[in-house]
């Protein structure tokens, strides 16, 4: 029979693997897409290759940061000694899952604006500086869901859960990790779509750069709302102290609330990204329709988000009623 310390160590190794294994997926896809579009851009305009290459590398560096967050969490899981308490098995797993899945969406998403900026420079070399700014802003906002996952992973690793009752707390912690981790996937990709449209828009019509960037920020911010619902559920699950229970139904309800919110946030994130993408795209073509486009985008995103709100309601019911 192995002792508790062995179980905790095994769990932290496994979670380090999960964190960087899943965390490596997204950024690689995003960076590859950026590189492919940079190749397209250089093919059509070889004399701009220096600028395009620079833009591609900067964009890829930002896209990579989601994976670097996952790397940091994996290193911490490997090199910090967790105390021998059974709850830490769950804590390590939750932190790993949270950061691993959380890095996926942002990595893919922030590849899109880098790609669009490379193609845009080839089409409109004079807009290079504005494109760079716009791309940096867009891909930095794309990182927000990954940063939320990082916050939850760190709170999990550095909070002392050893005085809480084991029975429902292990499920609450695991649910908290899954909730923010899965909820970050959709909004990361969706935010990337909006940023991509805005980079295309700035290249198409550099004079409209300011309103296009503003609408992009708005679209991305609303797209991230469901990731924030995931964060909220995680916070409730971490900081609420649940009374001890013998039955299995209570832990399962807490675990399910995390899964429910996490999965429920993926669809609205991508969907709201589509709404924002089209609105930003057409704003750059027709600046006079700015008011209508903004309103339509916001209403459309609010409707697309309603399924995320259903998940939030069910998750809250599972935490507070059952």
């Amino acid at each position: 029979m192995t002792d508790i310390q062995t179980w905790v160590n095994a769990s932290s190794f496994a979670s380090a693997g999960i964190a960087i294994g899943f965390g490596a997926i997204g950024a690689a896809v995003g960076e590859g897409y950026a590189a492919s579009q940079a190749a397209v851009a250089i093919g059509s305009r070889p004399e701009q290759s220096g600028d395009i290459l620079k833009l591609m590398l900067v964009g890829q560096a930002v896209a990579e940061s989601a994976s670097i967050f996952a790397l940091v969490v994996a290193m911490l899981l490997l090199f910090t000694q967790q105390s021998p308490h059974l709850i830490n098995v769950s804590v390590c797993l939750a932190a790993g899952i949270c950061m691993g899945f959380g890095a996926m969406g942002s990595g893919i998403g922030s590849g899109f604006p880098a790609a669009a900026a490379c193609v845009g420079t080839a089409r409109q070399p004079a807009a290079g500086g504005r494109l760079m700014t716009n791309m940096l802003v867009g891909s930095a906002v794309c990182q927000t869901p990954a940063i939320f996952s990082l916050v939850i992973a760190f709170i999990l690793l550095f909070t002392d859960f050893s005085d809480r009752p084991l029975s429902p707390t292990w499920a609450a912690i695991l649910g908290a990790g899954i909730s923010t981790g899965l909820a970050a996937i959709g909004p990361g990709i969706g935010g990337g779509l909006v940023a991509k449209a805005s980079c295309e828009g700035v290249a198409r019509h550099p004079a409209n750069a300011a309103p296009v960037t503003n609408l992009m920020l708005l679209g991305q911010a609303v797209t991230q709302t469901t990731a924030i619902y995931g964060l909220l559920i995680s916070f409730i699950l971490i900081f609420r102290i649940f009374p001890e229970t013998e039955t299995l139904s209570r832990p399962m309800a807490l675990l399910a609330s995390g899964i429910c919110m996490g999965l429920g946030a993926i669809g609205p994130g991508v969907g709201e990204g589509f709404a924002g993408m089209a609105a930003v795209d057409w704003l750059s073509r027709n600046i006079r329709a700015a008011g209508e486009l903004t309103r339509t985008m916001l209403v459309g995103q609010a409707v697309a988000e309603s399924t995320g709100i259903y998940s939030l309601v069910i998750a809250l019911i599972m935490i507070f009623v059952f």
Binding site: F69, T144, I147, V151, L217, L231, I309
Partner: protein, 224 residues
């Protein structure tokens, strides 16, 4: 690393209740407020037709924020709400930047600050909605597509407060955690200034701007 998650708190016991004050957050908030008041006083002190350097900075900030508000709300409302919007933006901007100074901590790293800002925007936007549409039309908005959607509409409204305040809090908190941890891992060599520039200056500016934009949009959505 041991400092992570530790909060200096002052507990005040008042007749059965305990008031908890986060000392660092309060001191930093007051520093930010003092800086802003001094800045405002300095910019407006020597007003002239040919502006001095400080006046130019002040005018640029106010004029740009006013245009931003006017684009979303229209002329009449912008005159009313742009002072609040400008103050909100400058406060959040300086709050996010103050973490660059070694001993200082961002007040926005504390959920209490962002949640109170979010609640303020919530109250102001609903007040503006009631003023513009009248109480009856305002209440009717909750039963919009069909009457049984009312609970979901109300949750949707409350979720706005959560989303606007957790977004700012999560980003600033995440940024400061990353700076702290990576600084620790690389023994404070080379990386910290770059990280501070990215997460403090760049991301801090963007997040302050996003918060301000969302506040403008929330108000204008309630009014129209």
């Amino acid at each position: 690393m041991g400092e992570l998650g530790k909060i200096h708190q002052l507990l005040i016991h008042l007749g059965g209740y305990t008031a908890t004050l986060n000392l660092e957050t309060m001191i930093m908030t007051w520093i930010v407020l003092t800086c802003l008041i001094v800045f405002g006083f300095m910019t407006a002190r020597k007003r002239a037709l040919k502006p001095g350097p400080l006046q130019v900075v002040g005018e640029l900030l106010v004029a740009n924020l006013y245009t931003l508000t006017e684009d979303a709300m229209g002329k009449e409302l912008a005159r009313k709400y742009s002072p609040m919007i400008s103050a909100l933006f400058l406060f959040l901007l300086l709050s996010n930047w103050i973490g660059l100074i070694p001993v200082c901590e961002e007040p926005t790293k504390d959920l209490n600050t962002t949640l109170s800002m979010g609640s303020m925007v919530f109250v102001v936007s609903h007040y503006a909605g009631i003023r513009a549409k009248g109480l009856k039309a305002y209440l009717k908005g909750y039963f919009d597509p069909i009457f049984f959607m009312a609970p979901l509409n109300i949750i949707g409204e409350l979720a706005k407060v959560v989303s606007i305040s957790f977004r700012l809090f999560g980003n600033i908190m995440g940024g400061s955690i990353i700076v702290l941890v990576i600084t620790h891992l690389c023994y404070s060599l080379i990386l910290p200034p770059l990280l501070n520039a990215f997460f403090g200056l760049f991301a801090g500016t963007i997040q302050a701007f996003v918060f301000t934009m969302l506040s403008i949009v929330y108000i204008s959505v309630m009014v129209n």
